[in-house]
């Protein structure tokens, strides 16, 4: 009886959590007459890929397709990942491998800057982008997202670096390897899985960002996908089938990536609190 109640509660929670995702995918597969019918069907009666074909082949605005926006987003996210991965690896090695005077101060700095409300930095960053002549360019976003993803990336990566046994590097040093060689040939391959996890985090940050993309890029051809979606699909006569197809294409990579790294994200966010 008690078990039944627990399982029932579990099912309710599962339904609440997963339903919107299910409904997004289900709607994207329904033909328009099912989407706009008076009685919504729980499962598409005649599943169709027409909305996917619509958004993948049609122009959202003259000359610009969904795929263009998708590629803008990919470009921005990948550049962010590469840059922040490199810089974060260096910094993480410093804090995980060395005891130096300003180490604790740096760790505190990392925590504090993670908590700066980025929404509050739109105006001064807009000023900076204007002065650098980067307004209306994708590098303006890459630069911004690099700053945003870096602190947490270092925080996450330092655990991975610390987990590599120090003795391995010492052994390499004895064998006559230089610092740079040890770094490249011993530390780097062992930290690679951590670097992947961190990269995924940076990717998701850049992929999902809306406000800065909305503010720094005015040229429709250079919109990232989130901006394109609010802009073209946010109107009153919304074509919900296409919106849901676009949303699905936008969401699925994130979900897949996210599931790969969520464990690390939890421990990174709650820091020492949940060490098991």
């Amino acid at each position: 009886m008690k078990k039944l109640a627990l399982n029932g509660a579990g099912l309710l929670v599962a339904l609440f959590a997963a339903f919107p995702v299910y409904w997004m995918i289900a709607t994207s597969l329904k033909p328009n007459r099912e989407i706009f019918s008076a009685t919504p069907r729980p499962v598409p009666a005649e599943p169709t890929l027409e909305h996917y074909r619509e958004i993948l082949t049609g122009n959202l605005i003259p000359g610009v397709t969904f795929l263009d926006f998708f590629l803008n987003s990919v470009l921005v996210a990948v550049a962010t990942v590469l840059l922040s991965g490199l810089v974060a690896l260096l910094a993480a090695t410093a804090v995980a491998r060395f005891r130096f005077k300003l180490r604790t101060s740096f760790l505190i700095l990392l925590l504090v800057v993670q908590m700066i409300p980025l929404e509050a930095l739109v105006i001064p960053l807009f000023l900076m982008i204007q002065r650098l002549g980067l307004y209306n360019t994708l590098p303006s976003l890459i630069l911004t997202y690099l700053g945003f993803s870096l602190p947490f990336a270092v925080w996450m990566l330092r655990g991975f670096v610390a987990a590599v046994p120090k003795e391995l590097e010492e052994a390499a040093a004895i064998d006559g390897a230089s610092r740079a060689q040890t770094f490249r040939k011993v530390l780097f391959p062992l930290v690679a899985p951590g670097l992947v996890a961190t990269s995924i985090f940076s990717f998701i940050t850049a992929w999902n960002e809306l406000i800065f993309a909305l503010t720094f890029v005015n040229d429709q051809q250079k919109y990232t996908l989130p901006v394109a979606m609010t802009f073209f699909f946010g109107r009153d006569d919304t074509a919900w089938g296409s919106v849901m197809a676009a949303s699905t294409l936008f969401t699925l990579p994130v979900i897949v990536f996210f599931l790969l790294v969520q464990r690390r994200m939890v421990s990174g966010l709650v820091a020492g609190a949940v060490k098991g």
Partner: protein
Amino acid sequence: MTTLTKATGEAAARENPARRRRRKVDRLPYLLLLPCLAIIAVLLLWPLGQVVMMSFYKLDSVRQLRGDREWPWVGLANYAQILGDPFFRTVLRNTVLFAVANVALTMVLGTLVGLLLNRLGKKMATFVASCVMLAWATPALTGTIVWKWIFDDTSGLVTWLFNKLPDGLSSTLFGRSDWTGYGWFNDPLMFFAILTLVVVWHSFPFIAVSVLAGLKSVPGELQEAARVDGAGPWRVFWSVTFPILRPVFGILVVLSTIWDFKVFTQQFVLAGGTQDRSTFMLSIYSYAEAFSPPPKYGLGSAIAVILTVILLVVTALYVRMVLRQEDES
């Protein structure tokens, strides 16, 4: 191990000026930190200082930002204008009430789900946890778009559901029986209710997973012993589980507060932009003042500074808690 130490010693002895090598090593960590520090300074700290500075100027054109025109200093005038504006008090009240309600709901729901996951059988727990992960992984943007579709005024699921209610019941309870065309987002209170639903849906999974991770590290025998001694589930939670998880809860409350204070994407998408002033909260208010024509960057900066100050106070608490735990572990 001893051979290794010995070998290192020998290597150092063979390495000619060993002292110079050590001094070089000392500088290396700073070198490694340099790019990271530079980026943080330029992209986070400099703008932070800049937003404070801009809040003391009258800035209302892009030309001023480009440096083509002067910046007239106005001192505290922007703050005086904001703080004297009854609308700001409404926005502040909205923000605080929203954050308090959302943190409370997220924490309660998240904790309950965490406890539930801990009690479920293995298969069921995996299934529920996977579903919960889906809500967490969904980007704020698309999650909100889907909820907007669920509340669509003609073909939305909720509209359909309310239309299904017996007419008599619906009329007595809500004063209407036909919900087609009902603007779910038009009434501010209803808007905030839906926004709360969306935000809680997005954020309870993180709480649930963190609480579950905390519970797994608590020795089960303690709770078992309490139960054997006749304590009910309520008592077991407050007297055994909660005290052990207190540090986790502390951090979770602070993080949730920070996140819920600066909700932007969900608000922006649900409201369809920055037109609906009756539902403004601090971050969207600051954004709208600065970027909706005519631009008022100085005024927007002042609002951003107020938001930042509130969050920095909360952050100070967070940093203290994390550092204390770093020391302990």
